[in-house]
């Protein structure tokens, strides 16, 4: 597979996203509000309750703020256009093109993500006016975080891809997708650390694929996963990645065979 066209796709997506400047503003605006909310909420909670072990106030504020910044990247869904392509029938012409459609969607998503990743910088600066964000715990934590973030990004892409492929079977999938998005926000540790789930729930959510998206990178960032556990955490993410890749390939090949373009 030649790489060059896909780099072009990514660059086009980047330029396309850059034209929506108003959305950039609203993204930063609502992020600032949420950072304020993080500070108000956790400060109030820590003022009236004993702090949980291993999780002082600055750690939870760092966790929540970095999760918020990651969401700027993870909420970009490059595969969303797949749903439209299936619904409108334009997917038929895409099949005629000499490209891999999943790879196109991935590079398009990466291009969009890169633009939104640029937003992380001003967002972080605004956030730093409101809260103190700790840097990664150690140099090795930084490396592990980056590796884990890349794996989480890929898992998130494949989860979105599978969800959008559902459109091959039922044409209206938006609501279903939002349901999965909300549940995944809760179960991935994007809203609260998974350690806050009581007892048995915690054991379950820690080993669901959603944890591979937010929770693992964030715990590595904070240095709460250390030493030999780092390798295990990354391996678990890689296994989820492989599982979703297999599932995605299966759904894709089944779905592609089903395509009957609607008239009109």
């Amino acid at each position: 597979m030649r790489l060059e066209p896909y780099l072009q796709f990514a660059s086009k997506a980047f330029q396309r996203e850059a034209t929506y400047r108003v959305e950039v503003l609203s993204e930063i605006g609502s992020l600032v509000l949420r950072v304020y909310l993080i500070r108000a909420l956790w400060t109030a909670l820590y003022a009236h309750n004993p702090a949980p072990p291993n999780l002082p106030l600055h750690a939870i504020i760092t966790y929540s703020t970095v999760a918020l910044l990651l969401s700027l990247i993870f909420e970009v869904d490059g595969t969303r256009q797949l749903r439209e392509k299936i619904r409108l029938g334009t997917i038929a012409t895409d099949f005629l093109k000499p490209i891999s459609l999943p790879a196109y969607l991935f590079s398009d998503g990466v291009g969009m993500t890169l633009l939104h990743a640029l937003n992380v910088v001003p967002s972080l600066l605004f956030a730093l006016l409101l809260v103190h964000v700790d840097p990664p715990a150690t140099a090795s934590a930084t490396g592990a975080f980056l590796a884990s973030f890349a794996l989480g990004y890929a898992v998130n892409f494949l989860l979105n891809f599978c969800m959008n492929c559902v459109a091959f079977w039922t044409l209206e999938t938006f609501a279903l997708q939002l349901v999965v998005r909300w549940l995944s926000d809760l179960l991935s540790g994007a809203i609260i650390p998974l350690a806050f789930f009581p007892g048995i729930f915690q054991a379950i959510v820690l080993h669901l694929p959603f944890a591979a998206i937010y929770s693992t990178p964030l715990l590595l960032y904070l240095g709460m996963i250390q030493g030999p556990q780092i390798g295990r955490a990354l391996l678990e993410q890689a296994l989820w990645l492989a599982a979703f890749a297999g599932l995605g390939a299966l759904i894709w090949s089944r779905g592609r065979d089903r395509v009957v373009v609607q008239g009109g």
């Binding site: 108000a40 820590y46 003022a47 009236h48 309750n49 609501a175 279903l176 909300w182 806050f196």
Partner: protein, 270 residues
């Protein structure tokens, strides 16, 4: 605005179309219902898990926060059921489809409210169920005062929600792109009303109490029903019962602003 029977006929038609749409797209209805459950379920579960680890949020327990959420949910979902399309006005203005409302022989706001949409009472039913549960769960006394006050608070909440979305809709006559403002106000409402206002800094407390008075949708009424004492800004315990008054005032102001905006919009449109 036309005769009363004409108005009733339009309202009847709107609801007939809504019902028929719902029956026609049953799968869609159930998927959106699942979405509504997931949305509120996730919000409540996150509150529950947080307060399981930190039992007191500025003196409020999970039971009380659950009731706080239920009050907001009741007002907000009632507003959505009847007035959801008001929030869509900026979209109509952007697309240019707003002009068609101006040439029809009925009040513009009435026409906007009567646009058939896919708002069904599912969220309100869910809100009533959660409110009933939360009332029991938070040990709120159900007496005559409660039975009279709750509907008044809901009416107040609807008017507050409506006033603010109407004001934003009017701003879209001047500034076509108000998406940023819409998003900011929406997250202020949906996320900031989940917690007692007392956790915020002074400026934000005043903003939520007296500028965008979302605190009257749930916080002040909850202070009254739960007999919370020493709450910031709650100068008198029954302040929350003023919700319909605050809602009425804010709606009157927003409606006057809307009319001023409409006149201006017509002026440039011709």
């Amino acid at each position: 605005m036309g005769s009363a029977s004409g108005v009733l006929a339009v309202i009847g038609q709107t609801w007939r179309i809504r019902l028929l749409t719902m029956l026609e797209y049953k799968a869609n209805f159930f998927m959106w219902f699942a979405f509504t459950i997931a949305y509120h379920g996730v919000a409540i579960a996150a509150l529950g898990a947080t307060l399981y680890n930190f039992p007191s949020l500025a003196g409020w327990s999970f039971r009380e926060v659950a009731f706080l959420y239920a009050l907001w949910m009741l007002g907000h979902s009632t507003h959505n059921l009847f007035f959801f399309s008001v929030g869509e006005v900026p979209v109509y203005v952007q697309e240019g489809s707003f002009d068609r409302f101006l040439v029809r022989p009925r009040d513009v706001l009435f026409q906007i409210v009567s646009v058939p949409n896919q708002q069904w009472p599912d969220e309100l039913v869910l809100a009533i169920a959660w409110f009933a549960f939360a009332t029991w769960y938070a040990h709120v006394r159900v007496d005559a005062v409660f039975l009279v006050a709750v509907p008044l608070v809901v009416v107040g909440g609807v008017l507050i929600d409506l006033a603010i979305s109407l004001a934003i809709a009017t701003l879209s006559f001047w500034f076509v792109r108000v998406d940023t403002l819409r998003w900011v106000v929406m997250s202020l409402e949906q996320e900031f009303t989940r917690y007692p206002v007392s956790i915020y800094t002074r400026g934000v407390r005043i903003l939520l109490a007296y500028v965008l008075p979302y605190a009257f949708m749930n916080y002040f009424p909850a202070v009254f029903f739960l007999h919370k004492t020493g709450q910031s800004l709650a100068v008198v315990p029954w302040l929350g019962l003023l919700a319909p008054v605050v809602g009425g005032l804010w709606f009157a102001a927003a409606y006057a602003f809307w009319h001023a905006g409409l006149n201006r919009y017509q002026g440039t449109g011709s």
